[in-house]
């Protein structure tokens, strides 16, 4: 779960990290009022879960009322990489002489958290990591002990942070780690930490992503989750509890188990088709889940055919088949051709039950995928 900048900044500020004065606004009037109160110059910043907001026109500086009004008008309601901007953060524009990067994330390969500090702040840190890895000081932290103060200092001095602000930056990093730990964060970062001419440090941006698997014990953070203006289908998948990713193709894919679904996608591609989605319905395949999955795939207007690939482990193939029959039986007319492949426990019994007026049954994964690709191609040609 991603926090918005304004939410993360509130969390940071509550923990004692210096942040610029700011106010959230969801209308031009509110934005102008906020700017007048804060005093110019201000930054007007789109609050959407999109990287590279600045380049995309989602952040504008304003030196006076007129500019603030213009900025708010430009940004509110704009489309940023598919997301509509509904709120902006109006923030004191900090006059800085230097920008740093400070962050904490999980190093999955090492299985432990890593703190990072760089004097190349204010730019895309992944690009820095790629082009100039030495410019980022990394300090791994033992998850049992938590971060020792010396580790924060070491990262800061190793990064070459100017000595005038080293202690303040180390203190921010220690706080960030504590927040990361207490909040079950996956990533937490400030990019940039601005250094002013009188050696003040200020968190000018704020990123905080929470481990979805830990939201059950982070009720306050979970409440911050907003109905994001995300893809309608992805919102529906969330509601149904499916792992779903929308893609660009026209072959709808439903399966059980992440690896098997990915493999089905790959095979669609292998046989010349283009997958429309990743949809993992997980273990078991009761009628309701099957219905919901079909509902989702059919709701995607790009879909021209569907391949349903279930490998029954503990789940029995005959039960799955019954679920598919029930789900499709509810339609007067099946919207798009559906190919079903059942394997594993009681697969044969399942194939016998399946109503071949509703679906096309194939025995192997390869055949099923090829058939679905054929159907999709045929739809396109029509």
């Amino acid at each position: 779960m991603k926090l918005h900048e304004y939410q993360a900044k509130q969390v940071f500020a509550d923990a004692g990290i210096p942040t610029p004065a700011s106010t959230l606004a969801s209308s031009v009037d509110e934005a102008v009022e906020a700017a007048e109160e804060i005093g110019y110059p201000v930054a007007v910043k789109a609050q959407v879960h999109v990287g590279g907001r600045g380049k995309a026109g989602g952040i504008k500086l304003a030196d006076d009322r007129e500019e603030a009004e213009q900025a708010a008008e430009d940004i509110l309601g704009m489309d940023l990489k598919g997301y509509t901007v509904e709120t902006v953060l109006v923030e004191e524009a900090v006059d800085f002489v230097n920008e740093l990067y400070v962050g904490v994330t999980m190093d999955r390969g090492e299985g432990e958290p890593v703190a990072m500090v760089s004097t190349k702040g204010g730019v895309d840190i992944e690009a820095v990591a790629e082009e100039d890895p030495e410019a980022i000081a990394r300090e791994h932290v033992d998850p049992a002990f938590g971060m020792h103060p010396f580790e924060a200092r070491k990262a800061v001095y190793d990064a070459g942070v100017p000595s005038e602000v080293a202690s303040d930056v180390a203190s921010i990093l220690t706080t960030l780690f504590q927040l990361w730990d207490d909040s079950d964060a996956s990533d937490i970062e400030i990019n940039p930490v601005m250094i002013t001419s009188d050696d003040e440090v200020v968190a000018a941006d704020a990123v905080m992503n929470i481990d979805d698997d830990a939201l059950f014990r982070q009720p306050e953070l979970a409440e911050m989750e907003e109905e994001a203006a995300e893809d309608e289908l992805e919102a529906k998948a969330n509601e149904y509890g499916f792992d779903y990713v929308r893609l660009d193709g026209n072959v709808g894919i439903i399966g059980n188990g992440a690896g098997l679904v990915m493999t089905t996608l790959d095979l669609v591609d292998h046989y010349g088709g283009a997958p429309a989605n990743f949809l993992d319905i997980g273990g078991g395949a009761k009628a309701e889940r099957v219905t919901n999955a079909l509902d989702m795939v059919f709701a995607d207007e790009n879909v021209d055919s569907v391949v349903f690939n279930i490998f029954g482990g503990i789940t029995r193939g005959d039960e799955v088949a019954q679920g598919i029959n029930d789900a499709l039986g509810q339609f007067d007319e099946i919207p798009k051709p559906v190919v079903v492949r059942l394997a594993g426990t009681n697969a044969e019994e399942g194939r016998e039950i399946l109503n071949d007026e509703l679906v096309t049954v194939e025995e192997t994964l390869e055949d099923a995928v090829q058939r679905a690709v054929e159907y999709a191609d045929a739809e396109v040609e029509q």
């Binding site: 999980m106 390969g109 049992a144 730990d181 698997d213 990713v245 992440a258 098997l260 493999t263 996608l265």
Partner: protein, 289 residues
Amino acid sequence: MSVLVDDDTRVVVQGITGGEGNFHAEQMIEYGTNVVAGAVPGKGGQEVHGVPVYDTVERAAREEDADASVVFVPPAFAADAVFEALDAPLDLVVAITEGIPTQDMSKVYKRLGEVDTRLIGPNCPGIITPGEAKLGILPGNIFESGDVGLVSRSGTLTYQVVDNLTSRGIGQTTAIGIGGDPIIGTDFVDALELFENDPDTKAVVMCGEIGGEDEEEAARYIAENMDTPVAGFIAGRTAPPGKRMGHAGAIVSGSGTGTAESKIQALNDAGVPVGDTPNEVADHIEDFL
């Protein structure tokens, strides 16, 4: 004939009184697994499927001389259950639970470095030595005893590949589902090492997927240390960067690491043929035998 588990393995089922634990304990017992105890706090003294339940894993291990456990405990309590098994101590813990918070697993991972216990999982289907023992949720009926070791990050994909093998009459020594999470106990290299050291394993299937660097590390290990032939499969060739493909670990980062291309390339460079389809993997294995 196998690695890690066989018909001598004495298994505790953690969470045996829960829905999942109860069902799969029965399945394991039916398969012939030597399930000797259950462990559930507050349920000590009960019996489930003829197996005695204890309040703590330590007591279950002591009273029933158990050496392994399978964890069917909800995600909020699963890391604690693994810590308990490490403390008992058992030799092997198989954590089936999906959705354990990553920070919990990071602490478990640290602890694993301090003890002698091996963890498989979490978020995995478990481990099976066909005809002898299964610890987890794998469907026993699709496996057959034989010469091929199998290690995989994915559940149903494993079944698919096993199906391709078994239908050709190619059996398995042991199949290990290492799990799809970013932080896991036994990784590819660990599993490959076990198979390399098992005289009965004549060939190995390794099913990887996008995300992380484990497959690349495995490729290095194979090139440097393995005589047993390995065939590979990598799921997620068509996955776009930044999108999580179901498994928490299956994500290609924006900077281009963890891609299927990089993994396939690394495996090919290590002399490992990678199938385009599960069936092609079975072809390669057939060639090896």
